[in-house]
Amino acid sequence: MEKTPNNKAWLLVIPVFVIVAFSAIIPLMTVVNYSVQDIFGPGERYFVGVEWFKETLSDRRLHDALWRQFLFSGLVLLIEIPLGVMIALAMPKRGWGVSVSLVLLALPLLIPWNVIGTIWIIFTRPDIGLFGVAINGLGIDFDHTASPLDAWVTVMLMEVWHWTPLVVLLAYAGLQAIPEAYFQAARIDGASAWATFRYIQLPKMRGVLTIAVLLRFMDSFLIYAEPFVLTGGGPGNSTTFLSIHLVKLAVGQFDLGPAAAFSIIYFLIVLLFSWMFYQALQRVGTGEK
């Protein structure tokens, strides 16, 4: 059914707008301001126009970090979304199993991100960590501090371990909100499990899955603390993702101008891709109805 046109609805949105805009607009403007200046200290700043943007865009290390980032976020979405939906479908629908499953799922999400990295350092150590000892016991020579491939595998494992529960919780809540009547109708029609999933559960989950895809894309694209603590961006530069590169620039060299220009480009990339995902997922939905 069509939405009712009513401009008074703005009154309901104003509190949200005010509270978000308070923290959003001034810092963004300040960063834009930094990005066009060369700053030596308070009172000593020069307007340099788009100089920093040009410099940032032609930085080879940034290009490398960007491709790494796309690969990482792509893998994250390809693994976590289907896995999360499958786990949500396998979860019990009622009874004590629900409570237990929900609490278990929440555990990894509740640990501060820097602590997650730290715990995984020990967890994957080949001499004293459960994972490290187990995998070496299987005869696989595994050391994420030496081999870039092992470092990638470790970071991906940590990421999938940490964030798949978020997708599961969203997908599960979406599934639970489907009225029982739909399933009864499907049973009467003799629909297969796949048909029920494809034509009832998946379309009804579109809303929550849109949020899941966008959240996982944004957060994995901005990921910093966990891989930084675990690998420090190494070995070499093999796990230096965009944020790690940015912080090296902003804090390590204390170069506010280029770091601000970098931040804005970074922000625009996330914005562009989130918008594309959003548009694509919206269209998928309308095509199915």
Binding site: L110, I119, I128, L130, F131, W161, L166
Partner: protein, 267 residues
């Protein structure tokens, strides 16, 4: 039996999920020397020293209290402002609605590192540095948009006929919203409350930038376990185990909202 296979797969998943957490628990019961000394599946010489230190040292336990205060404020504010806004987005068309809706989410998209300095300046201007309110409001930047988005999705799946029937039955707007509509989307409210709590709970950069002592969050206290003598792994692991507890309680309380779907025809 496909059902049983499914359950087994789920159990296998939960075991894998618990392994790193078990390892953290294992570490939390050992001294630093034991952790770094030798591999053992269970602590050879279990000790509660790490936990005792956290519960007796004010620098540690005040971190938990601070975090719980600002996270609770943030969750309440996020839900209370997002509920009416999400209703507006799901039911009405108004000037700039689509732009506004997407703009909200763009606030989650900026890499935080360079934004910390302007954030500090902004909150100093208002004299809010080192207050729980400052952290709670700054976390609204990413939690309010998330809450609006999740709630809007759940609200849109409630048929609009329900609103109309309630109006015909003579419900006033606030009464309809609280007694009819909110119960219908309680799954969404449960999941939203948990996510707001969770994202505010684990956020470190903003919380650390905006506080010094009085409102210092636990995640920031935990970075202090890195001292001149190296990292105190056992203490960090014990603190990590304790950071899970409040959130686990939250999901325990909202689980009933998530467990049962709503039944149509309740009105």
């Amino acid at each position: 039996m496909p059902v049983r296979k499914r359950t087994l797969a789920l159990i296998a998943y939960f075991i894998l999920l618990l392994l790193p957490i078990y390892w953290m628990f294992n570490m939390s019961l050992q001294t630093n020397a034991d952790i770094l000394g030798e591999f053992s599946l269970v602590p050879t010489d279990p000790t509660l020293t790490n936990y005792i230190k956290i519960f007796t040292d004010e620098a540690w336990y005040s971190g938990y209290i601070n975090s719980i205060i600002y996270v609770s404020i943030n969750t309440a504010v996020s839900l209370l402002t997002a509920l009416p806004a999400a209703y507006a987005f799901s039911r009405y068309r108004f000037i700039g609605d689509k732009h506004m809706f997407f703009w909200l989410l763009t606030n989650r998209m900026a890499p935080p590192a360079v934004f910390l300095l302007p954030f500090f300046q902004l909150y100093s201007t208002f004299g809010l540095i080192d207050t729980h309110i400052a952290v709670a409001i700054s976390h609204c930047l990413f939690n309010v948009p998330l809450a609006v988005w999740i709630l809007e999705g759940f609200m849109s799946s409630v048929p609009r006929e329900i609103d109309e029937m309630a109006y015909i039955d003579g419900y006033s707007y606030p009464r309809f919203f609280l007694t009819v509509f909110v119960p219908l989307i309680r799954t969404g409210i449960g999941v939203t409350a948990f996510f707001c709590f969770m994202f505010s709970w684990v956020e470190l950069l903003l919380a650390r930038t905006l506080t010094t002592t009085d409102a210092k969050p636990i995640a920031a206290t935990m970075t202090r376990t890195v001292s001149a003598t190296g990292l105190d792994w056992g203490l960090l692991a014990a603190a990590g185990i304790l950071t899970i507890v409040p959130g686990a309680l939250v999901i325990w309380f909202v689980r009933n909202y998530m467990a049962k779907g709503f039944a149509l025809g309740r009105v």
